[in-house]
């Protein structure tokens, strides 16, 4: 099995992000492998462990994205590629998906591509499905479990998490899969893995390397701002007994027409 996992570097979810001079900042907070992508890396590694093959991690981003790739390598991925080009500046999901799809085409005979369901920064959740469309492969998003995988018959059966329940889908390979948290806890990098990752050479592919000439984004971002400040105006409800507190709270909720 030739397996690819697409990852992104994002600020830690505990970061206090803010806007300075029209740009997003996160202070000293660390940049990490997008938390959703950890689940994708985990599932890619489990697939390799069960069926053999290799796992390649790809990221599109600035130099810092190397750190996300190193984390993926430390967890156990075999190799990594960074897609980097000034042509990707101001990329929207269309550009990112097209670049990832082009890189996957260049790798040849890829059977399965994993993504996390979304990224915790821009949080569109569009890229996995868009990469699938560019590749003309089935898009299997929001996967909570892989129920079956037959490398020789080239089929996969997955359980998807929808709002209304679970949907079980059978698909031919190659396919693109985005995973949700329930797929399983990601492993910690091993000491050996960290050592290997720190020494790894990560090649950079430019837009030209993957056969793209100046992909252009359809979207622009005219402004980013902090949400209106919520003044702390918490009204503490007190009383001698839980019943008295509950009654006072219930009355206030009714008075304020919350209920």
């Amino acid at each position: 099995m030739n397996i690819v996992v697409c990852v992104k570097q994002t600020p830690d979810t505990a970061a206090a992000v803010a806007v300075e001079n029209g740009k997003v900042t996160w202070g000293d907070a660390p940049l990490v492998l997008n938390p959703w992508d950890e689940f994708a890396v985990e599932q890619a590694l489990r697939t390799k462990e069960a069926h053999g093959g290799t796992v390649t991690a790809i990221s599109l981003g600035p130099d810092g994205a190397r750190e996300a790739l190193k984390q993926a390598l430390a967890m156990g991925c075999d190799s990594a590629v960074l897609l980097q080009d000034t042509a990707f500046d101001g990329a929207d999901t269309l550009v990112v998906a097209k670049a990832l799809a082009s890189a996957i085409c260049k790798m040849e005979s890829v059977d399965l591509v994993f993504f996390g369901r979304t990224s915790v920064d821009s949080d569109t959740g569009l890229t996995p499905a868009q990469a699938a469309r560019y590749l003309t492969w089935p898009s299997l998003t929001l996967v909570a479990a892989v129920l079956g995988l037959d490398p020789s018959a080239k089929t996969i059966e997955v359980e998807r998490m929808l709002e209304e329940g679970r949907q079980i889908v059978r698909s031919p390979l190659p396919a693109v899969v985005s995973v949700v948290k329930e797929i399983g806890e990601p492993r910690y990098p091993s000491f050996m893995g960290i050592r290997k990752a720190s020494k790894a050479e990560i090649p950079t592919w430019s837009a030209a390397d993957i056969g793209l000439t100046g992909p252009t984004a359809a979207l622009t971002w005219p402004a980013v701002e902090a949400p209106p400040k919520v003044e702390s105006r918490c009204e503490m409800i007190t009383g001698d007994t839980p019943e008295a507190i509950a009654a006072a709270l219930a009355d206030r909720l009714v008075e304020e027409k919350v209920l």
Binding site: T124, G165, C234, P242, I245, L259
Partner: protein, 347 residues
């Protein structure tokens, strides 16, 4: 007709998704600026009633594409149909509600028509013929404005509960244009379904009652003797607490949520998680029980209209966001609140 505005009517196996009518509200706001009425786009098998419902909810007319191949939602054939219809119609704007299906559908149509897709719109304003969308990023810690200036159609998914849901008017009627969907056989096959975990859907809920790590924090509860493992005792305690939360939720017709800490500790399944790596919600009332208010959790529920916090720790950050706060033990306060509210709601 170059400025036609469309709304996509989402459904689960023929059952309407009410948030589609909220998308219709956003589409009509945009249509007003573009001097266009809104056409509903309905796709499936045996879904004509949804086209009628769309007109009753405010669409001028509808385009209906039916085929047995479209009985089950699969993103590829649905996208083929949507892309084809929008292209033929020279659509300026497509508005969709947000579900797992529509996000994937819009993503594919964006590729087909090489146009921008903006997700999670909470507000729209017009700049000439371009729709400038406000959407939360970093799970609501920031708001971003996004716009697709050149490419058409502009595709946007609106966040559930961000726009008014109109009441239907049974007296309204309009043309339903029925056409043939040209389809290739889809590669994937839907094998079956399993029912959801039950209860009210979090993203749709007007009221949510959530529990956190504090739910297991009750030393007065004695676990059954056969549970000897400390961790299992903790989970057992938490389950007693979540039962109280469930009862309060039931009294309010509310959905049950949880913090990441509660999910990670194994108290409830992941489907309940509210926050940056769970569901982002925006109910009228959010009752946080035993939730301290980690930044990731606050990011997922801060836009709730009214927040009530019940916590033993008076310093918990959740109180900074709350409208009403109770410093106390949820094991005492929650059941008392359930009875008090039942009484006031006449149940």
């Amino acid at each position: 007709m170059a400025e036609r505005v469309f709304v996509y009517v989402d459904h689960y196996q023929g059952e309407e998704v009410g948030a589609s009518w909220e998308a219709l509200t956003a589409a009509r706001m945009i249509g007003e600026s573009l001097k266009s009425e809104v056409t509903a786009l309905v796709i499936g098998d045996g879904v004509r009633s949804l086209a009628e419902a769309a007109i009753q909810h405010g669409a001028k007319d509808a385009i209906l594409r039916e085929s047995p191949e479209l009985k089950e939602f699969r993103p590829e054939p649905y996208a083929d149909v949507v892309s084809q219809v929008l292209k033929e119609a020279g659509a300026a704007v497509l508005v969709l509600p947000t579900t797992g299906r529509t996000r994937e559908l819009a993503a594919l149509v964006g590729v087909d028509l090489e146009t921008g897709v903006v997700t999670d719109a909470i507000a729209v304003e017009m700049d000439g013929e371009a729709v400038v969308v406000t959407r939360p990023i970093y799970a609501g810690k920031l708001l971003s404005k996004e716009v697709c200036r050149e490419k058409r159609p502009q595709i946007l998914l609106v966040r559930t509960r961000a726009f008014e849901r109109p009441e239907p008017d049974a007296g309204r009627s309009g043309t339903i244009e029925v056409g043939v969907a040209a389809l290739e056989a889809a590669a994937t096959e839907i094998v079956g379904y399993k029912a959801a975990e039950g209860g009210v859907s979090l993203t749709d809920a007007a009221v949510i009652v959530s529990g956190g790590r504090g739910v297991s924090n009750n030393s007065r509860l004695t676990p059954p003797a056969e549970i000897t493992d400390e961790k299992e005792q903790e989970v057992w305690r938490a389950q007693q607490g979540f039962e109280l939360i469930r009862q309060l939720a039931e009294a309010l017709g509310a959905a049950v949520g949880a913090s990441r800490a509660a999910v990670d500790a194994g108290y409830v399944p992941y489907a309940y998680q509210v926050g940056q790596t769970g569901k982002v919600v925006s109910p009228d009332l959010y009752i946080a029980c035993g939730i301290s208010g980690a930044i990731q959790h606050l990011a997922g529920m801060r836009t709730s209209k009214t927040i009530v916090a019940i916590n033993r720790d008076a310093e918990a950050p959740i109180f900074k966001l709350a409208r009403f706060g109770v410093v106390g033990d949820l094991y005492d306060v929650v059941p008392a609140l359930t009875s008090a509210l039942k009484e006031r709601l006449g149940k």
